[in-house]
Amino acid sequence: MSYQAHFKVWRGDKDGGGLVDFEVAVNEGEVVLDIIHRLQATAAPDLAVRWNCKAGKCGSCSAEVNGRPRLMCMTRMSVFDPAETITVTPMRSFPVVRDLVTDVSYNYAKAREVPSFVPPKELGPGQYRMKQEDVGRVQEFRKCIECFLCQNTCHVVRDHEENKTAFAGPRFLMRVAELDMHPLDAADEAGIDRRRGAREDHGLGYCNITKCCTEVCPEHIKITDNALIPLKERVVDRSYDPLVWLGSKIRRRRT
């Protein structure tokens, strides 16, 4: 069942680099990450790759395999023709550190810009009551393993580096949606308007729902349909519904 595969792996650093050819053994049941590890152990001990759980749970080994953003640990070699050349390159939207490792600090910076969960003042630990049907959607978003493949794929930043300042990316807009849908989040009471934030601080308007993020999500989270579109609808309700607008003004005056 073993065969020799032809791999092209991008090697280099921030100053540049290129694809390097390797002939490498592939055994039954292996995934792309296994092959990268074999290259490290045999042909290129200093080949840099980020990985951790090797079970699709930690979201570390993101890369582009034949141009498609994927987790290397969940990409089985059996999906490729044995004669096919497999090209592995680092995620394109983030600066290269070395070989397949990229600088993903953009994502950590964006994570910090989303206001955290606000616990309701009147409830202490152990007093939270939530219905399963009310938390199902939030739990879908919390399945996110932060592999950043959606961030890498989203064309708002993939082809427009300059948008990174204003745009949080699908992962963190989904985080805003998650908090906005949390049954007990008390952001309103704390004076935090998550919907306004989505639009004004996190660049929700840049998203034009092409669903590229959903397509590459290894957790199969329906980022666009379940998080981004509903968030857009809520933002629109808030911004353009005259009654809501009036209500928000009146409430504000009272406090």
Partner: protein
């Protein structure tokens, strides 16, 4: 000599899994400045792999549950070798630690009343595990990560700097804990990305580095689990206890080869999955040990009724503690009744409807579908034992998590020893991380706060130079040290594979004295060759170099496991001796303690009889009478000597 970046913090936490992050949150909330150092990216630590849940006796599903019942189950699971004070604190505080997570934004699965749902698990008398499907570890790590972000947001508002009082140094590895005289003064490490060295001065260091599984060939553990904290503690003068107790989780994937060892959650059995051999027989009914006879069902019918009527039936033996199930699977395979790829069958497909499986076990469904082409709603899984967890670890004070003998050093989570005795129950790990992570952070903060500005122990320059030379050795490996080891440079990947093979073959799930002696012999050979582990390229993100440095830790820890396992001439929990198959009550009060030999340099490296580790027997303190009173006398006679029972 390269320039070493230096910073000063109050508390340094090494490791950013559940224990490390919980410790950091606590230290910061005590008002101290806390630095977290982790090998992976922030939020990727191995805790993310935990599936089943967090054990805490909240009593949401069965009102009879309370901390005393949880304590009892924990002691039974550990075959009474547990540090009883840790088991007590753990059982008492776990519910508060879970509820607190909700106030930080965690979203657990709910009961019909809207409470946190709790599920059954091996060795737990009542449904006790708070969970989120089968991805509880992800929820835990993300919640703690987001709590840290929220504290950083507070600091940003107050000081204009997110990292004023809490900073995560990600993709950094600590290679030495530094001391001045006897006291901790900081850590030395390198940044993976640049290869640059750094020193962080701090009077208190919390080790929260997890386990040692990467010393074994088949393991559920990730690359990070190279026993770093265990080794750092030894090198700093601390001691390790119970290192012979290594948990082999009964259900790891066995096929395809590249995923061998990846975990199949115990929830599969907790929710109704059964184990069968190649004859289709539920063989676990043949493997209920005497100490558990009264607690487990005698027939399949009774076991099946228990899921819906637990008050009038006993639980099925598939839910025995992990050590028992792992041994049983091992025996079935050995007897020729295994599955095609050398495991046994774990089946949920005939036990519940496909949609229930997909809802309750989504990750498992996904994992088998993607990695093995197996649809678990339609066919059984093939599973077998995989190295999962080390019960042994740093000897700590149970209340403060302070490492015994090294002022300023603390340890929490898997790297700490004692809590789980000879075998850990599923679900008790995540709760352990939270309970003792918080305690370690609290007491590290109090300890650090005791030093006036400028009065903390200093970092000796000479020790920095030594640490730097040690870390750079792989780049000039050829030739090696004349006195210790001479020859061509060794490939660190080859050494690592040989180490894993030796530990799996010779100090694995079933152990024999001759094989463990052979293991010690091979380890000494590997130690010598590891001195010449060499790497190509430069220091920037160079995995070969990282592995060459990790080998030191894996070799030290492996020697502890082998020596302690050879010494303990009985079978108990995660330590099974073919040549001493019975549990011996006299061994219950004996802890085997490892420390670094004083004469550890030079020739001891290559001498298998001598080695680097010294082993001592240490008598454990008697269990407090009010805790003993929680058990029936009859049960205690199975574990305690007559002498202990009468006194």
């Amino acid at each position: 000599m390269t320039r070493v970046d230096r910073q000063s913090w109050d508390v340094v936490v090494v490791g950013a899994g559940g224990a490390g992050l919980r410790a950091a949150i606590e230290a910061r909330e005590q008002g101290l400045r806390c630095a977290v150092i982790c090998k992976s990216l922030f939020g990727k630590a191995h805790t993310v792999m935990a599936e089943g849940g967090i054990a805490a006796s909240m009593g949401n599903v069965n009102h009879n549950d309370n901390w005393q019942v949880h304590f009892r189950d924990t002691m039974r699971g550990g075959k009474f070798l547990n540090n009883w004070r840790m088991a007590e604190l753990h059982a008492q505080e776990a519910p508060d630690r879970v509820w607190e997570l909700e106030t930080w934004g965690a979203v657990f699965d709910r009961t019909p009343d809207g409470l946190i749902s709790q599920r059954n698990f091996g060795g737990h008398e009542y449904p006790r595990l708070a969970h989120v499907g089968d991805r509880t570890g992800l929820e835990l790590i993300r919640t703690l990560q987001q709590k840290i972000v929220s504290l950083q947001q507070e600091d940003e508002r107050e000081y204009g700097d997110y990292e004023a009082r809490l900073k995560v140094f990600q993709e950094c590895t600590v290679t030495r804990v530094l001391k001045e005289n006897r006291r901790v003064s900081g850590v030395f490490g390198y940044e993976r990305e640049s290869g640059r060295f750094f020193v962080i001065e701090a009077p208190a260091v919390v080790l929260a580095t997890g386990g040692i599984g990467k010393s074994f060939k088949v393991t559920s553990n990730s690359w990070e689990y190279t026993g770093d904290g265990h080794a750092l503690a030894l090198l700093a003068g601390a001691r390790l206890v119970n290192m012979e107790f290594v948990q082999f989780h009964p259900t790891g994937m066995v096929w395809p080869p590249s995923v061998k060892g990846i975990l199949v959650t115990e929830s599969v059995r907790g929710d109704g999955g059964v184990l069968r051999n190649s004859d289709g027989k539920r063989f676990m009914f043949d493997y209920v040990p005497d100490v558990f006879k009264e607690k487990y069902a005698e027939s399949e019918a009774e076991g099946d009724r228990w899921y819906t009527d637990p008050d009038h039936n006993r639980r099925p033996p598939e839910l025995l503690p992990r050590d028992e199930v792992a041994r049983a699977i091992n025996a079935e395979v050995k007897a020729g009744r295994g599955s095609p790829h050398g495991g046994v069958f774990l089946d949920v497909s005939t036990r519940m409807p496909a949609e229930v499986i997909q809802r309750k076990l989504p990750s498992m469904h996904h994992q088998f579908k993607e990695l093995a082409d197996v649809d678990i709603t339609a066919e059984p899984m093939e599973v077998g034992p995989t190295c999962h967890y080390v019960m042994g670890g740093v000897e700590v004070d149970p209340d403060t998590a302070a490492a015994v003998g090294v002022p300023g050093l603390f340890a929490a989570g898997e790297v700490a020893g004692g809590m789980h005795g000879s075998n850990r129950l599923g679900g008790n790990s995540l709760s352990d991380l939270l309970v003792f992570g918080r305690r370690a952070g609290l007491h590290a903060a109090r300890y650090a706060a005791g030093f006036a500005t400028g009065a903390a122990p200093a970092v000796p320059e000479a020790d920095i130079a030594l640490a730097e030379a040690e870390a750079l050795r792989p780049f000039g490996a050829e030739g090696g040290d004349q006195h210790v080891s001479h020859g061509p440079a060794e490939n660190p990947y080859t050494l690592h594979q040989e180490l894993q093979q030796a530990m799996s073959d010779l100090v694995g799930i079933i152990r024999r004295s001759g094989e463990m002696e052979e293991a010690l012999h091979r380890l000494s050979g590997l130690r010598a060759r590891a001195r010449r582990a060499g790497v190509e390229g430069h220091r920037q993100f160079n995995p070969g170099w990282h592995l060459a440095l990790d080998l030191r830790n894996m070799l030290l820890v492996s020697e502890c496991v082998a020596r302690a396992a050879l010494e303990r001439t009985e079978s108990r929990g995660g330590h099974t001796r073919d040549d001493h198959p019975g549990m011996d009550r006299r061994w219950r009060r004996v802890n085997l303690v490892c420390r670094l030999a004083d004469e550890s340099a030079g020739h001891a490296v290559t001498d298998s009889a001598l080695g680097l580790i010294r082993l001592e027997r240490q008598e454990t303190p008697p269990i407090r009478p009010d805790l003993l009173a929680l058990f029936e006398k009859e049960e205690l006679t199975k574990y305690l000597t007559d002498e202990e029972l009468t006194s």
